[in-house]
């Protein structure tokens, strides 16, 4: 079994399925994570992301499918046989061992002669060398988190799994650790797979983000792409906010599709629409929408609405605008000027956006309030 630990290469999941009784947690998942990348599995709780992680770690066995690193099939092997280490959500530090012994635990199990030196180096890397003699209970949440990271990193695993590792930290500390994690990943060059339900966290750190929902991957790609061009309604709503409305394709205009959304003609680039005919779900990101008192020139993508709420956020001002159809859109206007905002709830406004920024996805099922 020793050869499993020497497996090298990209991580691959081949149509992996996991059932718990009647419940399908992960449904025929295919995934390839290139060696050395920072990969994020993003999704709401219960979407199967943690189960996927546990199958990679070997803590769960898939009901069907294979888990491989390079050419080595890991399916069926035990957690302690795999070149994979995990940073657990609750850290799961050994409470009876000192920080140093926690970190040296892995190398010692593998009979490494330099276990203590390596533990020291790993603690150095996460800036916890001064705390080596302490017990986990004597550390703060953030410090425990670093130790948990060191304890996994010290083994130089082929794949490092992070299960919502920042979930228990407060906002400021989380920001710090995000930067830190990214730095460490670049430094050690290992494959990191990071599971989180926090889209902002996934976007800041990962090279590639896979959005998971109900046991399968909705969309995978670099963060910018997911945000800019979501391919499903779920992704559009889960990664950032989106103003959306159901519509029907009525024709084409050059590179653009023309659709009817609540009686308004809107345009969307053909390449930015997942649907070329029939019904679709039209969407625009809030910051791409401009709010003005008068109807902008050169019509097309503009709609009149009524302001419902104005909140001043500093860098930007957020408006909630009720559309003729009754749906609420949100818009962010950067506060480039120093003039006070003169729009008040009840005011009539025009909303406008560049048609090149719009996108459209398949409507999938019942109509739903798109904007929050």
């Amino acid at each position: 079994m020793g050869d499993l630990r020497d497996a090298h290469g990209d991580l691959q999941l081949e149509s992996v399925t996991k059932r718990f009784g009647d419940f399908v947690a992960v449904d025929g998942l295919d995934l390839e994570v290139p060696r050395g990348s920072f990969f994020a599995l993003l999704g709401p709780s219960g979407c199967g992301k943690t189960t996927t992680l546990r199958m990679i770690a070997g803590l769960e066995q898939p009901t069907a499918g294979r888990v491989l690193i390079g050419d080595t099939d890991l399916t069926g092997s035990r957690p302690y046989e795999r070149p994979v280490n995990t940073v657990f959500q609750s850290y799961a530090l050994f409470p009876h061992l000192s920080v140093h012994d926690n970190v040296a635990f892995g190398p010692k199990r593998r009979k490494a002669k330099d276990a203590d030196t390596r533990a020291g180096e790993a603690l150095e890397l996460v800036q916890m060398a001064d705390f080596a003699a302490r017990k986990p209970a004597q550390l703060s949440g953030g410090q425990q988190q670093r130790v948990a990271l060191a304890r996994a990193l010290v083994n130089r695993p082929e794949v490092l799994l992070l299960d919502e590792p920042l979930g228990a930290l407060d906002l400021k500390l989380r920001r710090e650790m995000q930067v830190e994690l990214k730095r460490i990943q670049t430094e050690v060059g290992l494959t990191f797979i990071h599971v989180t339900h926090d889209q902002e966290e996934a976007m800041t750190m990962a090279d590639t983000v896979a959005v998971m929902n109900r046991g399968h991957i909705e969309q995978m790609g670099p963060p910018e792409e997911l945000y800019d061009l979501p391919r499903t309604r779920f992704v559009a709503n889960f990664v950032g906010q989106a103003n959306m409305g159901p519509g029907t394709v009525e024709g084409t205009d050059g590179d653009y599709l023309v659709a009817d959304v609540y009686g308004t003609k809107v345009k969307v680039k053909r390449s930015r629409s997942q649907v070329q005919e029939g019904s679709l779900l039209f969407g625009v990101r809030p910051e791409k929408v401009q709010v003005s008192r008068t109807q902008p020139e050169g019509g097309g993508n503009d709609v009149m609405g009524v302001v419902k709420d104005v909140s001043f956020l500093g860098v930007a001002t957020a408006y909630l605008v009720e559309m003729p159809s009754g749906t609420i859109w949100s818009c962010y206007e950067q506060n480039l000027d120093v003039e006070p905002i003169d729009l008040r709830p009840g005011d009539q406004v025009w909303l406008r956006w560049n048609p090149a920024h719009a996108f459209a996805v398949a409507p999938e099922g019942a109509l739903q309030e798109a904007a929050r």
């Binding site: 050994f94 009876h96 017990k135």
Partner: protein, 285 residues
Amino acid sequence: MASTTAHRPSATRRTRTWLADHFVMLVAVAVLVYLFLPVAYTFAFSFNDHGKTNIVWQGFTLEHWKDPCGVPGACESLVTSLQVGAISTFIATVLGTMMALAMVRYRFRGKAMSNVLIFIPMATPEIVLGASLLTIFVQGFTNLGLRLGFWAIVFAHIMFCISFVVVTVRARIQSLDPRIEEAAQDLYAGPQSTFWKVTFPLILPGVLGAAMLAFSLSFDDFIITNFVSGNESTFPKFVYVSARRGIPAEANVIGFSMFVIAVALVVAAQVVRSLRTSGSTNQKG
């Protein structure tokens, strides 16, 4: 004048509030005194210069403390009790801990039945346990060479201690975060080293607590012991048998000494534990 009349009710009210606030505590202290009263009597009457029976105070003497073993059978029975306690505690703790691990960590057929089998001995009056053991020893085991006496006591004590060990250790295992063991596996520890390096050290306090419980149950048992002891005498049996004639004050000396030793051990254990974990105030289960 007006001020005093205004002041007086507030004073009585203050007393009343104080009483209301501290009433529960006062009752609690009274109950604790009640719990300790017989222990104090046992201590006091160990100095009684008694004649035939040690019921009435007759005068102070240190005689009984000089040679507690002077009374025939007293120390022999104490040694027997300690031996029985040690052996049955060890075996019951090992068996019970194994069972607790199985009950918490595995799913298997027959679990509900095992649960019932573990629970019922605790819900059975000791006299029934003792009586049933007596019948099987006299009418069955004796024919196999297993007679009433020292080993019969040990086997019986193991039986009634097991259940208590299981529930104590089980509570400890249930309070463990299963992720910790997963972390060990994730860090290349196989099943064996996961158990010995991680699980066992973490459940050890529960196991030690269970062992202490088992020992005190065994050491103090009289009813079951009385049925299966044959001619063997344990300390409680010695005390009970001599109660007919009057318990010698030496028994009080031994009983009270055991009390002091046990309390000292418990206090020492507490001190050691608080020293070891001092500073680790934010530990959460």
